[in-house]
């Protein structure tokens, strides 16, 4: 279309469009306006807390983001839900063979299979949550640059999808407990609280790394290595009693140490390491506050940078 055509079209359209406008003006309905602005747009402030009300207002989007991920996964994969269960099972079998049979790692009088699974189950949730949520913002770049919504929903949805995986894989834990004839005790009532604690820990790291990853793509390369090391620095494939007593304080600075020991203790009715749990809880809460502030601080830039 050349310019001259464009102009002539415009001119020829004029009477017609004019007519339509006057007609529409006659019929126009006027909506009552609120006295206060619904949306106020200002330059970004430096440090603000996460806006929980805004997240709550967008809870339906959160639901649909989780729904999408689950739906897509079961459409794309042949075995659907079984992968979620197979991952910790396969890891348990491999470690059981190499560490249980060959290296004979002690497992505090619990069948090593059960010992392993009860540690690998929360570990798998943690590591998958942190890695998928860290990558989630970059993966949603197209959405972030085209629509407004609280950006924290994206890593939050990633963690919640992994939480549903955890629930599915818990069925195997139940079967193992029955198979090994373990008693179901009241200590197990603590498991949901420990899971909440673990979810908050995974979420705070997910928020932090997701935000940093938008600006510094190295995070995506470094993170798998970091998580691999973290597995060996946590009491997942060996008991925390393995650690010499004089280094226990240092070991407990890993928030997963107290948590995974606590998870296992609640399930297998062993002694709780209260100090380790308390240290873990404090570190988690500090980390959560720090991450949400960092996330909020960087959030305003996401669409400019991603």
């Amino acid at each position: 279309m050349s310019i001259s055509e464009n102009v002539s079209l415009r001119v020829s359209r004029q009477p017609e469009s004019g007519g339509e406008f006057s007609e529409s003006a006659d019929q126009q309905v006027s909506l009552p306006l609120p006295s206060k602005p619904v949306i106020r747009i200002r330059a970004s402030k430096r440090w603000t807390p996460l806006d929980l009300r805004e997240i709550w207002a967008h809870r339906e989007l959160l639901y649909f983001l989780i729904w999408r991920d689950l739906k897509v996964r079961y459409k794309q994969t042949l075995f659907g839900v079984s992968w979620v269960v197979l991952q910790p099972i396969l890891m348990t079998l491999v470690f059981a063979l190499f560490l249980g049979k060959i290296a004979r790692v002690p497992s505090s009088n619990v069948p090593y299979m059960l010992f392993l699974y009860s540690g690998l189950l929360p570990w798998t949730f943690f590591t998958n949550s942190v890695s998928t949520s860290s990558h989630s913002l970059i993966a949603s770049a197209q959405m972030i640059t085209k629509v407004y919504f609280p950006r924290s929903l994206v890593p939050l949805a990633a963690v919640l999808v992994r939480l549903s995986d955890f629930l599915a894989a818990s069925v195997i834990l139940f079967i193992l407990m029955v198979y090994y004839g373990r008693a179901f005790t009241s200590a197990m009532l603590l498991v949901p609280f420990l899971m909440l604690h673990l979810t908050l820990l995974a979420l705070s790291l997910g928020l932090l790394f997701a935000a940093l990853n938008v600006k510094y793509r190295d995070i995506g390369t470094v993170l798998p290595v970091l998580l691999q090391l973290w597995l060996f620095a946590s009491p997942v494939i060996y008991p925390a009693t393995f650690v010499p007593a004089k280094w226990k304080w240092l070991y407990d600075l890993n928030p997963l140490a107290g948590l995974i020991s606590g998870f296992r203790a609640a399930l297998l009715n062993a002694g709780f390491d209260r100090r380790g749990l308390l240290v873990s809880l404090s570190i988690t809460l500090v980390l959560l506050i720090y991450s949400t502030f960092v996330f909020k601080r960087m959030e305003d830039e996401f669409a400019d940078v991603v």
Binding site: M1, S2, I3, N6, V7, L9, R10, R13, Q14, S17, E20, F21, S24, Q27, Q28, V29, S30, L31, L33, P34, K36, P37, V38, I39, R40, I41, R42, A43, S44, E60, L61, Y63, F64, W67, R68, K71, V72, K75, Q76, Q142, M143, I144, T145, K146, V147, Y148, F149, L212, K215, Y216, R217, D218, I219, V222, D300, A303, D304, V305
Partner: protein, 277 residues
Amino acid sequence: MKSIVAVRNLSKTYHIGQLRNSNPTLRDALVGAFGSPVSFLRARRHGDGTTLNALQDVSFNVEPGEVVGIIGRNGAGKSTLLKILARIVKPTSGEVDIYGRVGSLLQVGTGFHPDLSGRENIFLNGAILGMKSIEIRRNFDEIVSFSEVGRFLDTAVKYYSSGMYLRLAFAIAAHLEPEVLLLDEVLAVGDESFQKKCRAKIKSVSRDGRTVFFVSHNMKAIGDLCRRVLLIRSGRLYEGSNPQNMIAEYLDEVATAEAHHASLPANTYESTVLPSA
């Protein structure tokens, strides 16, 4: 009448240094922070001095029910303005107050998932655009009939033709019910009859008392739909009393630019008319 959108002294500045190196590595940051802490902090605060003013001191008010056309050459700042109104990017300075909900359609089919069916994408995309699921359910049949993809509703959208895909995406967005609707060059999709349908939809949205912002390079559509036209020229806003004058001024500007770049292929202007989606 009271305005539904009030924009005061809006500016958006990009640091060119930041743009040129938009993915700095962690190493750069660490080396910068540890190597020379003082200059690193200073650089963060002031940039390296090269800045791009995408928007400069833009102010205007819009009344409910107005269809506002935003025109200007590529890179003038139209999309930046729309993105600020949509809350996707933050302004560097200035204020916007909006007395109603905002729905934005800056790209057709944002968040569509290729492996999900048309039906599933209606719900997903609706939620992404800010619709409540009750709203989506209430409008579901109308969206399907507007999109004309009824027969393929349960087929994954990756098997859709591009026309079907765009029609479905626009149909969902057309049923957004916010008080302020932001559209970026979305009317350029589909064939003539579908475009006609879209224009009719925009008119009916405005008749309902809702406000529409509409960015386009298609002056025919702008002239047809907009009672008010804002012209953006290198980040500054110009407005005259008559939309047709603004359109003529824009066409002059394009023609002048074309004369300047006479050595470029003759169809440069045409490429700006085509959909950028």
